[in-house]
Each structure stands twice: as structure tokens, then as C-alpha cells.
Symmetry: C2
Subunit: 411 residues, 2 copies
């Protein structure tokens, strides 16, 4: 697998995921605007420099009765008149798919500077309706229709599968939840930064932490979030000029060093049937992770300093731990017990708080993960900084392990 | 503007746009399957050769309560297990956006063979609800909410704008309709091939051809269609091997010679305000057309042998005529009166029948346009063949002239 041509990430911006833009009666374009103008401000780049724009969004058709989200870039700034735009979607991996599309165009020498914004406004509807909308990320007709909160149930089944193959304890899932909430408290943009949550609460089974899908309790779930995140991707030519203008060495500018992208069958039961007897529960997720490493010229996870992974539920992070190779398959609990995944551990996972702690505005998540990786490798992650992080890897998942995308971001 | 690296279009397949898959109680994945397997069969390529797959789809979230359409590729053939997939959307330009994303990945040397399928299942709902869904291609809240059939009204306004600036006669729109329906009769996959329509009917204003949006009557409208179209895009390396295996010279394999891509503001009134006093009513559409020509190394439309354009309404084709440069701005009627755009004319437009005659399954249209262009330059368009076509250009539009994509396909 050849190393990838250089695509630089000059910077970006994330909206405060604690905000309820729906309650503020603001359109999602207001979120896009704040994220994009914030990214331009942070990088000291003029709007007119942007040559192409990509939006990652899951389902504005349902949440906001609106399609054609690429075009809303033009509502952000008059300088964007005529700008080529597009929207990309792969359920909860939409943000990463948008980055893949943008970076491909840069690698193809179509453009030198691309803006990618991931956005989702989810609080336009109540919890039940929103849960139903999320069901369209699975095979709706077969896995979600008429089911209350289908996704916690699907990821509950992922836990069941681990339990069946290797054993799985609630205590380890509770620890994952605890770490993500704790990290979220260190992140000034995290949705849950002021929330109350600890290990005892995550382990409790009272009415404040009810089951909503088999072994999945409220504390195991990521959040329903209004939010946007933007990153600016550049060709080596543009990055060189920009670095010079900013007075920083090009070597200090983060790059996408590798990427992985795979799809598994839509239905969870088809995934499990396919992986029967295989080394990994979700082998295509494993391929995505290892492809990204290979393209980055990285041998294994020991060269990864931190991970921003998809913890839509604690079970998905539990799965990520062994799929990244932090432990042998089925032994994710060992990394948890050893303290490896906590801040200060060997390979901190989700120092940002992840989808559980920071929040999960679906289409924004993949972009937010890359942005947080950029902050880490620049040493600008503040209270959730992983000391000396040089390479950070993301894992963004759409559906019940259906579409996987991973990036290695480093300097 | 540099000429584009070579991306070959090895072939493809279109479903019969006259079929009502909804009435057949078939899922859209059945359409995708027929299109993809049809494309593989036509090109004698094994499913396992496909390295990446892209879906163009506008709004399955609304029509079929289903997102994550890239992943449905895996339901087509077991050989697709693990295949990287993505869905791309820009309203009615979704199919072209998917081709742009796929060709960028090939140009970036990520993959050698990509499958792109455009798909839309629209007959799952009635005309009124479907018209409302199409409103999400415009700024729904401001331009479509509570309006019956918002899009005919928006493109009626495009006609009004032409009328205001240059004058516009119903007779010329009726002629556009007549030609598209006539061409559709020659296309074995056209939705309207058995329908009754002629100039007198298009000019009639009786109850069989009522107004549904100002000057837009039923005969001015494209169709509500269930359909899919697939194309196989290849790198020069793959195309060379394939041509050798097929016993054809590489020079005879169609290529994407150039592309254009621009966006205008979402609201139609903002577009018109921006173009006040400008040479063209929709200047960003004009840029898209000329960029594609420039990238193809083509000076002007005189080197284009035929056009497959977006005639969601007769007014959009009327606009395309001068925006392609077939006439001076505002004088599209001259090309119509001269017979230039009819089959056998100087630059036949929509020999396939276009969106009016062939049908308009929204997400499939951009792919169908490229596929028909491929058929033309290979001399395989049967009864709707443009004699000696070497270069065919497409124009695919999302919203009321919002997202424009154009390809020059040639050998």
C-alpha cells in the first residue's frame, strides 16, 4: 500500500457542542458559518482563498427537511460565490467521507485549498423521533422500523457478540463511559463538560441510568448534539506558502499521513455471520485501521500516541480497543484495566471526550475527530493534551460497523 | 486551466426508466443491483475487480426513509465485501457529484477501477408529497414550504427572467418539449417512449396540459421516475489492460476529457440579483460549462457534437442553449428555430430525450447523462445516435441553478 501524497491540515474550528442551536432558533447554516469563519480566523486565511468546499452531513433531510447542504456554503460569505461544493454521506461516518473526498481532489491536483465542514442539527426533534431518524443509518425497514431507539439495541448486540465470543463485563463498559465523561470535563467544547457522571453512576442500574437497548444503559450512550466542525485541507504548494507566511516550519504543520476506508454489510446480523470464526468481530473495521497505518508507514499501534475513536456506545469503543491492536482480539478489558486508554496512559483514547463526552453531532463527528487530532499533534489541546503526541489516529463508523474510515494525522 | 488526467469510462448500464419499481414492490437496492451487474456484464468485468463504489442519490431519506446508500453496494454481490463506499448529494446534480468524487480518487491514484451508480426511487409517494420532497433541493423553509410543486414555479421564474431580459415565447418552450419527447421515442430506456406528445399538445392550454407553475405546463416538466444508472471509471493502467483484453484500441475507449463544477446561491431570487446586468442569467452555470471545455482543451461549443443537458423543465434547457454558447445570450430561440438542437441538427441536445423524454430519477440523472454520452461517442446509441459524435458534453444542475456540473466525454 503506497504512502499517500501529502495533504496538510492547516487548522480548523469546532462549535461549542453544548449549545442548543435549535432552542436558539438558529438554522444549521449559522453553525456552518461559525465553524467555517472560525477556521479561517484561526488560520488567518481569507475566504477568497478557498477553492472548493465539502459538507459532511447525515440526515438534514429528516432533521431539518433540507437537502443540498454543500450549497449552503455560499450563504456564509460573499467571497464564496461560484465555489464548487458537495455534500457527502455515510451515516455517522459522513464527516470522514467528506474529508476523503476533499483530500482526493487535492491529491488529484484539482484544488490547493479545500474547506470541509461537518454539521448536524439534531435537537430539532424529540428523542424518540431522533432515534427513529438514526435508524436510517441501519437498514431501516429490516432493523429499525417500529423499534424504539434501534441503535442502542444494535450496539447492545455488539456487546452480546463480544460476550459470546470472549466474555464481557459491565464494569469495563462503565470504565469506558467514565473516562470519556472525565475527558469531556477537560474540553471547553464538550457537550457534557458540566454534567455529573462517574463510575458509580455508570454502574448503577436505577431509574437514572435505565437500559435502552439490552446491556446499553444511558451512561453507555453518546449524545444528541447540535454542532459543526471545520478543517482546512491544503496541497503541499499552498501549505508551504502558508507556513512561510505564518512563520512556522512546514514540518510543524499536521498532515493526513494515511487513511483507511471499508464497508461491511448493512445488517448487523450479516456482519456477525460474516465474521464467524474470524479473528475480529468486525474484520472490515480492522482493515480500515490497518490500511490507514500502512499508508502512513506505521507498523502498528505502538507508534500511535493517541486515538480519537467512534464511541457512539461504550461497546463500539470496547470493539475499537482490540481492533486497533491495543490488545489481542477479545481482550480489550486488559487495556482498560491497565489504564492504557485513560489520559496519561499508554495510548489515551478520546482525550476530547469522544462521542460520549464531547458529543455526537452525527455529520460533524469525523471532522471533529480530525480537528482534535490536529490540536493534539500541534500541542494545542489544552487540558486534554496528550503529552508529546506526534501521531494520532481516528476511527469514524457509520451504521452498526458498516462504513469505517480512519485517518492517521501527524507531523 | 490544466487538462485533466485521464479517467476512462469503460461502459455502463441504465435501467428501463419506464418501470415502476415501487409498484413492483422492489427496494431501490434491486435497481442498484440491476444497474451495477448490468454494467459489469456489458464490460465483461468481474465484480471483484471493482475497488471502490460511489452512489449518487438525492433524498432516499425522504422517499424511502433510508440513508447510508453507499453501503447498499454490498448487498449486490458477495465479492463487494469490504469495498469502500460513499454516497454523494447535491440535489438533482447528485449523480455528477458522485462521478466527480470517483474520478478524483482515480486521478489521485487511490484506486484503478470505480463503480458509480446513480439511483432514485421516487414513486414510493404521490405527486404532491414528491413535489414537496423535491422542495428540499431549494431552500425549503424559504422557497418551498407550503407551496404546491415549488420547483415548476422556480423554473417558471427562470422563464420570467428570460422574458424580462430578452423576451421569451411559449412556442420555443413547446418546441423544446416536442424534441425531447420525440427523441425519447427513439430511446428503448426512455420513460415516455410510448407516450403521446407533440407540438400541438405542448402548446395546448386545456385541462390536459394545465399550468403548474406560471408559464410551466405539464408538457414543460421532466418526469417522476424510478431508475438507476451505473458507469465504470478506470485509471489509464486499468483501461489499457481492459482494452487489450477486449481487443479494442485504447483510443476508442471514452474518457472524461474535462469537467466543470460551480455553485450559486440557493435562493433563486439571490441568483437573479447577483446576475443583474451580467452577460448570462446564471453566470455560474456558464462558468461550469466553459471550465469543462477548457479542461478538455476545447475552444468552444463548435467542437461539441452533442449535448446531454438538464431539462428538468423546458426553461432550464432554454437557459442551457445560450449558456453553452450555441447562441448569444438571450437568443436561444434562434438555435431552436434553426433546428440546431434537434437530432440531425448542428448540435443535437438530449438525443436520449433528456429529463423530459427519458425521465429524471433525480440521483441517477448525472450518471445517465455520462452513460448516454459514452454511448454516443462509441457509436452505440442506436436510434438516437448522433452521427460521428466524438465529443459530447453534459450539464447537470441541482436546485434552481444552484449546483452545476458538466463533463466533456470523448475519445
Amino acid at each position: 500500500m503506497a504512502q499517500v501524497p501529502e495533504v496538510y491540515v492547516l487548522g480548523g474550528y469546532q462549535t461549542d457542542f453544548a449549545r442548543n442551536w435549535s432552542k436558539e432558533k438558529k438554522h444549521f447554516v449559522a453553525m456552518m458559518r461559525e465553524a467555517v469563519l472560525g477556521a479561517l480566523d484561526e488560520t488567518k486565511i481569507e475566504p477568497g482563498d478557498i477553492e472548493v468546499a465539502h459538507t459532511g452531513n447525515f440526515a438534514a433531510e429528516l432533521y431539518s427537511k433540507q437537502g443540498h447542504l454543500g450549497a449552503f456554503f455560499l450563504e456564509i460569505d460573499p467571497a464564496f460565490s461560484g465555489l464548487p461544493t458537495a455534500r457527502h454521506e455515510a451515516a455517522c461516518a459522513s464527516g470522514s467521507i467528506a474529508i476523503l473526498a476533499a483530500s482526493a481532489e487535492i491529491e488529484a491536483h484539482r484544488y490547493d485549498l479545500a474547506c470541509v465542514v461537518g454539521v448536524e442539527q439534531m435537537k430539532t426533534v424529540g428523542a424518540g423521533e431522533g432515534g427513529d431518524f438514526l435508524g436510517t443509518a441501519a437498514w431501516y425497514e429490516l432493523e429499525a422500523k417500529g423499534i424504539e431507539f434501534p441503535f442502542p439495541k444494535l450496539f447492545g448486540k455488539l456487546g452480546d457478540e463480544y460476550d459470546k465470543r470472549y466474555g464481557l463485563k459491565d464494569e469495563h463498559l462503565a470504565e469506558i463511559s467514565t473516562i470519556n465523561y472525565a475527558n469531556g470535563k477537560l474540553n471547553p467544547n464538550a457537550q457534557t463538560r458540566t454534567w455529573y457522571m462517574n463510575y458509580e453512576h455508570a454502574m448503577s442500574r436505577d431509574e437514572f441510568n435505565g437500559s435502552i437497548g439490552g446491556r446499553i444503559h444511558i451512561s453507555d450512550c453518546s449524545q444528541v448534539t447540535d454542532g459543526a466542525a471545520a478543517v482546512l485541507l491544503a496541497s503541499p504548494d499552498y501549505a508551504k506558502k502558508w507556513a512561510k507566511r505564518m512563520g512556522v516550519p512546514l514540518e510543524s504543520v499536521p498532515r493526513i499521513k494515511g487513511w483507511g476506508h471499508n464497508t461491511a454489510r448493512m445488517r448487523f446480523e450479516d456482519k456477525v455471520a460474516e465474521s464467524k470464526g474470524a479473528e475480529y468481530v468486525l474484520p472490515h473495521v480492522r482493515s480500515t485501521v490497518t490500511s490507514a497505518m500502512k499508508r502512513a508507514g506505521i507498523a502498528d499501534v505502538s507508534q500511535i500516541d493517541s486515538i480519537e475513536t467512534h464511541d457512539c456506545f461504550t461497546t463500539s469503543e470496547y470493539m475499537a480497543i482490540d481492533h486497533f491492536g491495543l490488545t489481542a482480539p477479545g481482550e480489550s478489558w486488559k487495556a482498560i484495566e491497565a489504564g492504557d486508554i485513560a489520559l496519561g496512559g499508554k495510548t489515551p483514547i478520546n482525550p476530547s471526550g469522544g462521542l460520549i463526552g464531547a458529543g455526537h453531532p452525527v455529520g460533524a463527528t469525523g471532522v471533529r475527530q480530525v480537528l482534535d487530532s490536529v490540536k493534539q499533534v500541534k500541542g494545542e489541546a489544552g487540558d486534554y493534551q496528550v503529552e508529546g503526541a506526534k501521531n494520532v489516529q481516528t476511527l469514524n463508523i457509520g451504521g452498526s460497523g458498516t462504513t469505517s474510515v480512519s485517518f492517521v494525522v501527524g507531523t
